[in-house]
């Protein structure tokens, strides 16, 4: 799709829901425009009546009547304007609201791969800049374009009806103007596009830097960060200057041309008189009339060019938004199978996978987690443990082989069903803004306070929460988490405990929690895990000693497998890991 098509697709998509208000407000605005053209003649009528009265062949009554008509007409005009604007305001704001919601909704459906490979700030700039541009343009340009086109077309028709030769002289320069405008607009278009892309990059830079501000400060990178900002900012400035300049010169060019055009009209008229095509008296009148028309003819052009950059920025915004809306979505497998709980086993069957086509990470991994058992995965960093979790939960899909639940390929399950059966405590914990309680019941918003507290107790978080100023109602503002890293992990655990999933995955869930607390959680979790199928990734071997099976993953391959005691006996890789970590008496 070309850029233009993209922009138009986007705009129609969101405006088509407002067909009715758009049509009505446009109709009202057309009336207003026509009324504005007629109004002077009503005034003329009033004046005529009054002068007739003065001259003695009329009554004041007729004048009053005409005046009343005029006043009524004026009032009507104001009311129509009011209605048109009110409706436009509404549908424009609502459409913009739909766009914002649409964009966010779209983000919700996109693949993890997209988020892993795109910068947050680029997406944020769509909210911070592009949506705003579209809104402004519609607000300021919508009626302008309608009424100006109407005036434009109207003027052309009237001119040609009166005298086509002079009419031609009025429009004579138009092709040249169009050509010139086209060249300029093409340039402006490039720069305005470029401008929004640079703004996106600047936003991405700011967002990333400020989110890592603690590193910036502690590494003494402030100066460097400012220097980097200057570089990005200079690019924005350059692009914006060019965009503003090229889109800005259209207007003076066109209004300058309108002056030159007078000369052409006058010359043509003079020529017509000289060649006796018209009588001198009529010709002179015509010239005067057509200089007026030349003026009205150019008005719409100058008006529209003065809002050109606004329009183009809206189109650019629409294109950028449409590009996101076109992105691939997660396949939710709407008519897929459903399962409830694990009845047999969760299996990885000869799984091959790589994040990029050229680099395979898992080379034929097979793991079986029978119902009710707890299987641990250990192995060097980067061996692919988290990747396995990504595949089970379908954040990514296998290249070959399969992940199955009771023999059903996860790709054949309804996505929502799969994920509601799988509970994950991720390696990196995140908090959302809201209260502590909201965060704990994040996976089950309807959970009661008792459930929340029970989960917090099991995760050893309760005592800490009770020390907070408003306990469970303590607000967590974004970016302002007042939890220690370990406490965040405990909260993630509580969150997952609360939803009580059939299949539990713990990805280094307690890596930052002290071992005393960890042991307590373990005891609590033993109850939770008992009878539950689970998959535990851990570097702290103490936590997995009692697993039914330990799988050692190295470089994307399973190299050892079995219960703790067996693996120790084997004196292989696991043995090495174990002895290097444990404290011995």
């Amino acid at each position: 799709m070309s850029d233009k098509q993209k922009s138009l697709t986007y705009l129609t998509k969101y405006l088509k829901n407002y067909k009715k208000p758009i049509l009505i407000s446009v109709a009202f605005y057309l009336i207003v425009t026509i009324a504005q053209v007629i109004a002077p003649s009503l005034l003329g009528q009033t004046v005529t009546n009054l002068s007739a009265f003065v001259k003695g062949h009329g009554s004041l009554g007729v004048f009053y009547q005409a005046l009343a008509w005029m006043a009524g007409f004026y009032a009507f005009n104001s009311v129509a304007t009011y209605i048109a604007w009110m409706m436009m305001t509404r549908f424009n704001a609502n459409a913009n609201n739909d766009m914002r919601k649409g964009l966010f909704g779209k983000l919700q459906r996109m693949t993890i791969r997209y988020f892993d490979t795109h910068q947050d700030g680029q997406i944020l700039s769509l909210f911070n800049s592009d949506l705003d541009n579209i809104f402004n343009a519609l607000n300021n340009a919508f009626f302008e374009i309608i009424s100006q086109s109407l005036l434009f077309v109207g003027t052309i028709i009237v001119m040609f009806v009166i005298n086509w030769k002079l009419a031609l002289s009025v429009v004579a320069t138009t092709p040249l103007i169009l050509l010139l405008s086209w060249i300029i607009m093409k340039k402006a278009h490039v720069y305005l596009d470029n401008q929004q892309d640079r703004v996106g990059e600047l936003n991405a830079y700011i967002n990333e830097q400020l989110n890592g501000e603690n590193v910036i400060i502690t590494q003494g990178l402030r100066d460097q960060s400012v220097a980097g900002f200057k570089k990005e900012n200079a690019k924005v400035r350059e692009a914006m200057f060019k965009g503003q300049f090229y889109s800005g010169i259209l207007n003076p060019l066109v209004s300058g041309f309108s002056l030159l055009n007078f000369a052409i009209v006058i010359a043509t008229g003079a020529y017509m008189i000289m060649t006796k095509q018209v009588s001198q008296a009529a010709g002179l009148g015509l010239i005067v009339t057509f200089t007026e028309y030349s003026w009205t003819y150019f008005q719409p052009l100058t008006q529209v060019t003065s809002i050109y950059s606004m329009l183009q920025l809206a189109l650019t915004g629409a294109r950028r938004l449409e590009t996101v809306e076109e992105q691939e979505e997660e396949n939710t497998v709407p008519d897929g199978k459903t399962i409830s709980g694990v009845n047999d086993a969760v299996r990885l069957e000869d799984v091959h996978f790589g994040y990029t086509p050229d680099k395979e990470i898992l080379h034929g991994v097979s793991i079986e987690v029978p119902k009710g058992q707890s299987v641990a995965v250990v192995g060097p960093t980067g061996s692919g443990k988290t990747t396995i979790m990504n595949l089970i939960n379908r954040f990514y899909d296998v290249n070959s082989g399969a992940v199955t639940f009771d023999g059903v390929d996860v790709r054949d399950l309804k996505l929502e069903n799969l994920r509601s059966n799988v509970g994950i405590v991720l390696q990196d914990s995140v908090l959302f803004s809201g209260t502590v309680a909201d965060n704990i019941r994040y996976g089950k918003p309807e959970a009661s306070m008792d459930e929340v507290i029970a989960a917090a107790k099991e995760a050893q978080l309760h005592d800490f929460v009770m020390t907070l100023p408003e306990q469970y109602d303590t607000p967590i503002e974004n970016g302002q988490d007042n939890f220690s890293t370990g406490q965040k992990q405990l909260l993630s655990i509580a969150r997952t405990i609360l939803v009580d999933p059939a299949f539990l995955i713990l990805d280094e869930a307690t890596s930052n929690v002290d071992t005393v607390t960890e042991e307590k959680i373990q005891k609590a979790m033993d109850n939770v895990i008992a009878g539950r199928t689970s998959f535990v990734i851990a570097h702290r071997l103490k936590t997995i000693l009692n697993s039914d099976k330990i799988v050692v993953l190295k470089d994307g391959q399973v190299i050892e497998e079995g219960p703790h005691a067996d693996l120790i006996k084997k004196r292989g890789f696991y043995y090495q890991l174990y002895t290097s970590q444990m404290a011995f008496e």
Binding site: F135, I216, S225, F229, Q244, I249, T381, V499
Partner: protein, 575 residues
């Protein structure tokens, strides 16, 4: 507005030239109808010479207006973009003097919104001023005078009209300004929500909570929309409202003229011009009004920028102190600390001393205050009471550059930036050679996986290090921390995501290869700190014990408990 003045001063020349070009193009605009009328009259009077002359002038005027118009756009764009980008730069530079707490108070999303969206509003404002506002008052004042002069008797009608429209305008501007304020606030909120979603996307998806996220955002978005609609309603009321007022006044004046026409028959001829002047006045008022709206909106944004500029950094360094690295000793003297928004102290009366080159372990329960203590050493916060000295100097007296050279702090949560691996490591030492990169990576056990990439150190890291595993991230973060060879190295649980083997190797290498570096190791695993010269045991913000592994095993119940949970199932001999 005041905040912009110094910026305009920087572009004095451009401002001057813009004004001149405005005068010229205003002249062209104002003169053109007159000239045209003149030509028309001359045409009707058949004065050929005059027609030719004035047509030529018309062409000249056209060219003049093109040239001055283009120049006006050029200079106005230079000012607008210059002022805005300078302001944006200074704002960012100011943010980079903030303490961590300052940044968190604003939230990073709000700061982004201010640097992007608010700047856009300010830009619109400046553009409006230079491209419209300056010449509108001329037209407005001109038409007011002309309207009054045309029918002096009804001067009061013009005054009434102005008063009514102004009144309407003042009320509206007040209302709308408040709404713009709210608009920017919701903008912050939406940006915050989206940022939060982007960071927690895996959690959202794994809990199937998209509906919840959507509901939360829709609520904010609806509220923003409410504001938009209200602002729009005001606009939609004011415009036709002002129109209606003008029309009524016009009708009233025409009516009055009519009733008294016999006394003043000459009034007939002034009706049409009078109406035209009032309508021009209305047009100018509306344009000025629009500009005022744009300005009041820009003002809200300027205030939000001013807020940043007015913020006093919580932590201020002593610029006058020397920039040289400090010594490697650390001394805590009765330090207590409460977080700015916290209620209870997180650290209570902590005192200890570390000699240069020592290795110190810190252990303690989750939330006992280990990271907080480390943050105080790096002076992310200042202690509420008590004193911290590094290399003998009070932290409050040192230069920031000196402190950063001295203390290298590997954070508990590894954060890398998008860019290559080398870019990230060089954040620790700007001019690091490839040998140094290699050495640091080796020590952090990172070179093994870096070498596997085809581009080795030029491999790209995605934002939030999305394409690295937990342990890879941490190892790069450690490498970045040690590359500069700072006298003091703090590792805050920095090996938590490393497998046991790599962890052990990292520990050993650091101990061996950095003998002169003071090492603070915060760890959950006792094995990591067993060999330390000294171990500090924190419990609920208090320093409850201090000593070597052997000593603590004998004396500290807290330490004993931690140790107990980490002992192997088997005895050494059994394996």
């Amino acid at each position: 507005m005041k905040i912009l003045l110094p910026y305009f001063k920087r572009y004095k020349k451009d401002v001057f030239l813009t004004l001149i070009t405005i005068v010229f193009s205003a002249f062209a605009t104002l003169y053109q109808p007159r000239l045209l009328q003149q030509v028309q009259n001359e045409l009707l009077a058949d004065q050929q010479q005059a027609v030719i002359r004035d047509t030529a002038i018309l062409i000249g005027l056209g060219l003049l207006s093109i040239i001055t118009g283009v120049l006006n756009v050029y200079y106005a764009s230079r000012i607008t973009q210059g002022v805005v980008s300078d302001l944006r730069e200074d704002t960012y530079a100011k943010i980079q003097t903030f303490s961590l707490a300052n940044v968190q108070q604003f939230s990073s999303e709000s700061l982004s919104v201010r640097l992007i969206n608010d700047m856009q509003q300010i830009m619109n404002m400046i553009m409006t001023i230079f491209m419209q506002l300056i010449r509108m008052p001329l037209i407005l004042i001109g038409s007011i005078i002309m309207a009054i002069v045309t029918i002096p008797r009804y001067w009061w009608a013009v005054v009434v009209l102005l008063a009514l429209i102004m009144g309407l305008g003042v009320v509206a501007v007040k209302q709308i300004t408040a709404m713009f304020d709210r608009f920017q606030m919701y903008m912050d909120k939406i940006s915050g929500r989206t940022g939060e979603f982007l960071q927690g996307v895996r959690v959202v998806k794994s809990f199937n909570q998209s509906p919840q996220e959507i509901a939360k955002l829709n609520k904010d978005s609806d509220e923003l929309n409410e504001v938009n609609i209200k602002v729009g309603y005001w606009f939609s009321t004011i415009l036709p409202g002002a129109q209606l007022i003008s029309y009524l006044v016009i009708s009233l004046v025409v009516y009055l003229i009519g009733t008294s026409i016999l006394q003043h028959p000459q009034d007939i001829s002034v009706i049409t011009p009078y109406v035209n002047y009032v309508l021009t006045m209305l047009f100018a008022i509306l344009l000025v009004g629009m500009a005022v709206m744009q300005i009041s909106r820009g003002n809200v944004s300027l205030r939000r920028i001013q807020e940043i500029m007015d913020t006093q950094p919580d932590v201020v360094f002593n610029e006058k102190a020397p920039e040289d690295a400090l010594g490697g000793s650390i001394e805590f003297d009765d330090v207590s600390f409460t977080y700015p928004d916290g209620q209870q102290p997180v650290l209570k009366h902590i005192s200890f001393a570390v000699a240069p080159g020592q290795m110190v372990g810190i252990v303690g329960a989750t939330g006992s205050g280990k990271s907080t203590l480390a943050q105080l050493i790096a002076r992310l916060y200042d202690p509420t009471t008590g004193k911290i000295k590094i290399g003998g100097s009070d932290l409050r007296q040192v230069n920031e550059k000196a402190l950063r050279k001295t203390v290298s702090y590997v954070l508990q949560k590894a954060v890398l930036f998008s860019g290559t691996i080398a870019d990230n490591l060089r954040q620790g030492k700007k001019d690091a050679t490839s040998y140094e990169l290699e050495r640091a990576a080796q020590m952090a056990q990172a070179s093994e996986f870096i070498q596997r990439y085809d581009e080795t150190f030029d491999h790209e890291v995605e934002e939030r290090s999305a394409n690295l595993s937990g342990g890879q991230k941490q190892r790069l973060s450690i490498a970045r921390g040690i590359i500069a060879g700072s006298p003091i190295l703090i590792l805050d649980d920095s090996t938590s995501a490393l497998d046991a083997e790599s962890e052990k190797l990292v520990q050993e290498t650091l101990e061996k290869q950095l003998p002169d570096t003071t090492k603070i190791m915060i760890a959950e695993k006792i094995v990591s700190v067993m060999h330390a010269d000294k171990i500090l045991v924190l419990d609920n913000g208090r320093l409850v014990a201090e000593g070597t592994h052997e000593e603590l095993l004998k004396t500290s119940p807290v330490y004993q408990e931690i140790y107990k949970t980490q002992k192997a199932k088997e005895r050494k001999e059994e394996l």
